[in-house]
Symmetry: C2
Subunit: 147 residues, 2 copies
DNA sequence: CCTGATATGACAATATGTTGTCATTATGGA
DNA sequence: TCCATAATGACAACATATTGTCATATCAGG
């Protein structure tokens, strides 16, 4: 039955995420960062987004990203710029120091992803990713929410 | 390149896990529980395992599971039983109240998984799960750890 | 029995993330 | 303009999970 297959899929996905977060922390460690900070730094590099917009892009709670962004701002890795469109919602941009740290992380990440990805075909990875994305979309739209 | 496919795969997996945890919290909410407590309750039902063994089975840090287990024990949902093989490592078992709560959760979970699983074939879900499991195995054995 | 390595639970510090609440700022309609 | 609604940041409380440290218990080898 698909329900059982789905349950097994979900359990595996949760465990995998734990491993990936740990791996990301290791990749970010040489730059004095973590997986979560890395995500915010990457969003800051894109630029033109407020904290709330970054939170939505990352699929996280606004307040959690705000706390991280405040820490990164305190460390000088990102900066808040005035937003002509909104007085309160400052735009997040990467500082030079932040860009340097992000560069270190992404260099390590590229090698890491190449090493792990070499054990798979792009088709395998893409197929798995598409299934995960479809599940996510269903969860976002609230399907089967009532159980 | 597979590295890029792998990076996209990893990012999607992390976001999916956030959604799955949130969905699990909703499923466990009527029983006054959360995703994490649910996992410990399910492990307790299997029986014959200490806290440290449960932590290894779930792929979590021993100390985190210990804290959860202590809370569940305080609420009377699990109980610590003497372990003839080890004086300190008590065995975790489910109480009647714990079993009742777990039953409520799993009833809701079964319907939820069936509803979501219906949009996929078992083959799709299994293929995605196998890729995730292979990635996990590589991460556990430390391949490409050095980046 | 003794010793060193390992396993376990206790405790603390920290990181991440959620929910809730509040005041302020935009936004859109009457 | 006025007002209701939504968006945003600030702040707090809580849940989850990791790392580190410590004392004790277990185990393997001599």
């Amino acid at each position: 039955m698909e329900g059982d297959a789905f349950s097994a899929f979900a359990i595996t996905a949760l465990r995998l995420a734990g491993h990936l977060t740990a791996a990301g922390d290791q990749l970010a460690k040489p730059a004095g960062q973590t997986s979560a900070r890395w995500q915010v730094l990457a969003a800051a590099r894109r630029g033109g987004m407020s904290v709330a917009q970054i939170a939505r892009a990352l699929g996280l709670a606004r307040q959690g990203v705000q706390r991280l962004a405040d820490v990164l701002e305190g460390e000088g890795l990102i900066a808040y710029a005035d937003n002509p469109q909104h007085q309160r919602a400052k735009l997040v941009r990467l500082t030079e120091e932040g860009a340097a740290r992000l560069g270190v992380i992404e260099l390590a990440q590229a090698g890491w992803a190449d090493g792990l990805g070499a054990a798979f075909t792009s088709a395998e990875l893409d197929a798995a990713r598409v299934v995960m994305a479809r599940v996510m979309e269903m969860l976002e739209t609230g399907e089967a929410a009532g159980g």
